[in-house]
């Protein structure tokens, strides 16, 4: 294959998945745009956003790749109802690691911002937001990855080609959406308890 053919094929193969993830990214951007009040109410929140979004991709991308390999190897049965023990353990591990990374990112953000003398919300608020956002988006993403990979596999698609675009597209949207929900929930709880953020 010549240079031109290679370039043309690579371009054609990548464009649909990239275009889909662009749509997802823009939706996530709209949610972030709607979060201006929350970003101002919780200083340091924006610092934590890239780590939260990347964790989604790193953890659930790898979970999806694992499930897809398991399907290819016949280790996992492509039915959600089967309640496969391997699948449950892989999902538990993904959720656990994802939440760990989210909470770690929030803790580190607080430490670094304090060291830099930058404004940052209290550690309790940041950690509560990270925990809640990590758990909620983790559950949603686990469900989406399993359902879409199984459905795609049963319809004869290669799950390997599905995982990347699904995780990047839904990961950004769910990541920001559940972050917004978590921030609102935590701020409401803080308000009820009468404590200052």
């Amino acid at each position: 294959m010549g240079l031109r053919d290679v370039a043309r094929e690579a371009y054609r193969e990548a464009l649909p998945a990239l275009a889909a993830s662009v749509v997802g990214g823009l939706v996530a951007g709209v949610v972030l745009g709607e979060m201006q009040a929350e970003l101002q109410a919780v200083p340091g929140l924006l610092v934590f956003v890239p780590a939260l979004l990347a964790t989604r991709g790193n953890v659930y991308g790898s979970f999806g790749a694992r499930v897809s390999t398991g399907l290819h190897q016949g280790l996992v049965e492509p039915r959600v109802r089967a309640g496969d023990a391997r699948l449950r353990r892989a999902a538990t591990a993904a959720l656990l690691n994802g939440v760990c990374a989210s909470v770690f990112a929030a803790a580190l953000a607080v430490v670094v911002l304090r060291a830099l003398d930058s404004p940052v919300a209290s550690a309790g608020v940041m950690l509560a937001i990270a925990l809640l956002a990590g758990v909620l988006s983790g559950i949603a993403l686990t469900a989406v990855v399993v359902v879409v990979v199984f459905a795609g596999y049963r319809r004869g698609h290669n799950p390997d080609a599905l995982v990347g675009p699904i995780v990047t597209t839904t990961g950004d949207v769910f990541g920001v959406l559940f972050l917004l929900l978590s921030v609102r929930a935590v701020l409401a709880a803080v308000g009820l308890l009468g404590g200052g953020a």
């Binding site: 290679v6 370039a7 371009y11 990214g25 694992r66 580190l108």
Partner: protein, 185 residues
């Protein structure tokens, strides 16, 4: 192959890398935090943030996956005359040139629907295009370097290159966006 499907084995394989990547991502968060006021002042720029980061990482990971497959098939050589290498690099830049103006206009339109925008659509599209092209070139450079390093250290590029490239491109996405916003506004 019997990869262990236990929570402990998966966590042991994943968590250390994950925590390192989280530290890298926090670096990009700090850059983002440093121009927070400017982002809050221009809603279209705030809307641009996730899509720029994500698309930069995706461009890198798609290139990395393709190079890694070519590498496993033995059809890749690290030479500027290599058609697979140059063709994929060219496609990455072409994808950025196609997608990013649309990304900019999309971000501006959505920000306009959400409320008042402060920048013109042409400015936002130009910011997106400039950031996108710079990012595509950087994504190519990072991917080639990471794939070459994996090859030199006899690591499987499938395991290491994609996470490294995706996360480095995430950070570069924010840094480039920051630089372009300063130049254009």
């Amino acid at each position: 192959m019997s990869t262990e499907w236990s929570v402990r084995a998966i966590t042991r394989a994943m968590l250390p890398v994950l925590l390192v990547l989280t530290v890298v991502e926090l670096g990009s968060g700090l850059v983002l935090g440093s121009f927070e006021e400017r982002l809050l002042a221009s809603p279209s720029l705030l809307v641009l943030v996730p899509v720029t980061i994500g698309t930069a990482g995706n461009l890198g990971s798609i290139l990395a996956a393709r190079l890694s497959t070519a590498f496993h098939l033995g059809t890749l050589s690290f030479s500027p005359r290599d058609d697979v290498l140059m063709g994929n690099a060219l496609a990455t830049v072409a994808l950025a040139v196609t997608l990013f103006p649309a990304v900019g206009l999309g971000a501006w339109t959505l920000a306009e629907l959400l409320g008042a925008t402060t920048l013109s659509p042409v400015t936002v599209a130009a910011i997106a295009l400039a950031a996108g092209v710079a990012l595509a070139v950087l994504a190519v450079a990072v991917t080639l370097a990471a794939t070459y390093a994996a090859y030199r250290f006899s690591l499987d590029p499938d395991d290491v290159v994609i996470p490294v490239v995706t996360n480095v491109c995430d950070v570069l996405g924010v840094v480039v966006l920051f630089a372009v916003v300063i130049v254009f506004t």
